[in-house]
């Protein structure tokens, strides 16, 4: 008590420096992806995980999560109590995740066609067999959602009961600053892919950070210095920094296709996209659809997400907008309190 009375601001400052040193130098990184899982199937670098296999599954329709080709999928299972996968499995859902893994130089020729035609159908087959189920729920996040929508459109005969998309861009008419930066006249797409093979994570990350350079470069450090004595804040900060800096390279040909056919030519929404010789018609989607966008998302803008609902033939379709950013749609306080339960309820309601 006595020491508290005589405490000076410089003492506080020293305490802060000590704590910051602990946070940055001494303490280990937090453990991520802690929900128990088993590997059900592997192909090349991809792995299909089944979560909490020992927990009783009360929902008959298994969920297959399709992740994006950038960053790592543990954002969906970030930390106990802050995990969409944990939330769903605790509620009795049979959750699977298709993790694309880290592409090597030998994977630089991989295209969306390969992932959509050679990997996703196999993963679905394995999920249906393992769960002994007749139907499936596809849940795609970011580019994974775009891929899930394309896959569902190409395979209306498959038993995809529900399609749930999280911040997945479909219409690239106005992709904000990306539309300007990726202008065909200036962006050196072919040279980049031909020279580098795969596009390094740092380059993708640079592009994302450039959307808001000061707040993404200095903002996190200002906030950690400001709130370093709040243990819960420090834990969440470390989790996010770990994930944000733990990216994977974008397979070269898939990147070429993503920038040219999606950002520059906007083929998907115009029904002009061709995947392994077959035209993708979004109107072929008949599954129940939940399409979620985030108002503060500057990577997949709401106006890029929303138009899907007008294109599909689904009788049961919902567009849901949440007041979050691209990542806080799956992690963080709002996601835990509102979005995870909302997703869980929608899946449960549409699985009987």
């Amino acid at each position: 008590m006595l020491t508290k009375e005589f405490k000076t601001p410089s003492d506080e400052g020293l305490k802060k420096v000590k704590r910051l040193t602990e946070v940055f130098v001494m303490e280990p990184e937090p453990q991520v992806g802690q929900t128990p899982k088993e590997v059900v199937w592997t192909k090349n670098k991809a792995k299909l995980y089944r979560y909490q296999p020992a927990v009783k599954k009360t929902n008959k329709v298994p969920i297959l999560m399709i992740y994006a080709l950038i960053n790592k999928p543990y954002i969906l299972d970030l930390y106990p109590g802050n995990s969409l996968i944990e939330h769903l499995t605790n509620k009795g859902h049979d959750v699977y995740l298709l993790d694309w893994g880290v592409p090597g130089y030998e994977d630089r020729h991989m295209k969306f066609d390969d992932y959509i035609v050679d990997y996703i159908p196999q993963a679905i087959k394995k999920v249906l067999r393992k769960s002994q189920a007749k139907e499936i729920t596809l849940l795609g996040y970011c580019i994974g959602g775009t891929m899930s929508a394309i896959f569902t459109a190409l395979n209306p005969q498959l038993p995809i009961r529900n399609l749930l998309l999280l911040t997945s861009p479909i219409d690239f008419t106005d992709a904000g600053l990306f539309t300007k930066w990726l202008d065909k006249r200036y962006f050196q797409l072919d040279k980049l892919v031909d020279t580098l093979g795969n596009i390094p994570f740092e380059m993708i990350d640079f592009g994302n950070k450039l959307l808001s350079p000061i707040s993404t470069t200095y903002g996190p450090y200002v906030s950690i210095v400001d709130r370093v004595e709040d243990d819960n804040f420090v834990l969440n900060w470390k989790l996010m920094q770990k994930w944000l800096n733990d990216g994977v390279p974008f397979p070269g040909e898939a990147y070429r296709q993503w920038i040219r056919e999606f950002y520059q030519e906007n083929k998907l929404i115009k029904d002009e996209l061709v995947i392994r010789g077959e035209k993708v018609k979004l109107s072929n989607i008949k599954a129940n659809l939940l399409n979620i966008s985030a108002t503060r998302d500057n990577i997949a803008l709401p106006n890029q997400v929303a138009p899907l609902n007008d294109k599909v033939s689904s009788e049961n379709k919902t567009y849901h907008s949440v007041e979050t950013g691209h990542i806080s749609v799956v992690v963080g306080r709002k996601a835990i309190k509102e979005i995870h339960p909302y997703i869980e309820n929608w899946i449960t309601e549409n699985s009987y």
Binding site: P9, S10, K43, E106, D107, L177, W181, L192, T195, V225
Partner: protein, 131 residues
């Protein structure tokens, strides 16, 4: 009094950040959205790619002379492994489907044999009765 005037560098840093961010945000956003910026970005990319290409060519020729495999050659071996992996996966799938079909056929055969046995029993019974 003395306590209040003590310098807090963290507080100053935070204030500088907040003021810079709020003052420059609009200006930065505006310049990021200009065609000149996109053009400049393209030029930087061009130079970066040219540099990378030069480094790649030099490294590859050095590795070739030193008789050390390049990433290109290692990737060829990796691709072969990936192909084998794909073939094993296809085989695994084929075996599973065959097993499923075989199990169904065996179950059908068992049923047929049981039916034949029942018919034979009935036949034996009829023959016995005739005797």
């Amino acid at each position: 009094m003395g306590q209040n005037t003590t310098l807090d560098p963290f507080k100053i840093w935070k204030e500088v950040y907040e003021k810079t961010e709020s003052t420059w945000r609009g200006t930065i956003e505006n310049s990021l959205g200009t065609e000149q910026f996109a053009q400049g970005l393209g030029q930087v990319q061009n130079q970066y790619v040219q540099y990378q290409e030069l480094v790649k060519t030099l490294t590859e020729s050095y590795l070739k002379q030193a008789n050390i495999p390049s990433i290109e050659e290692l990737a060829k071996v990796a691709s072969m492994i990936v192909n084998v992996d794909t073939k094993i996966d296809n085989l695994d799938d084929f075996i599973y489907e065959q097993q499923e079909t075989t199990s169904l056929e065996i179950a059908q055969l068992k049923q047929d044999i049981t039916n034949v046995e029942q018919k034979l029993d009935q036949l034996i019974e009829i023959l016995k009765n005739k005797d």
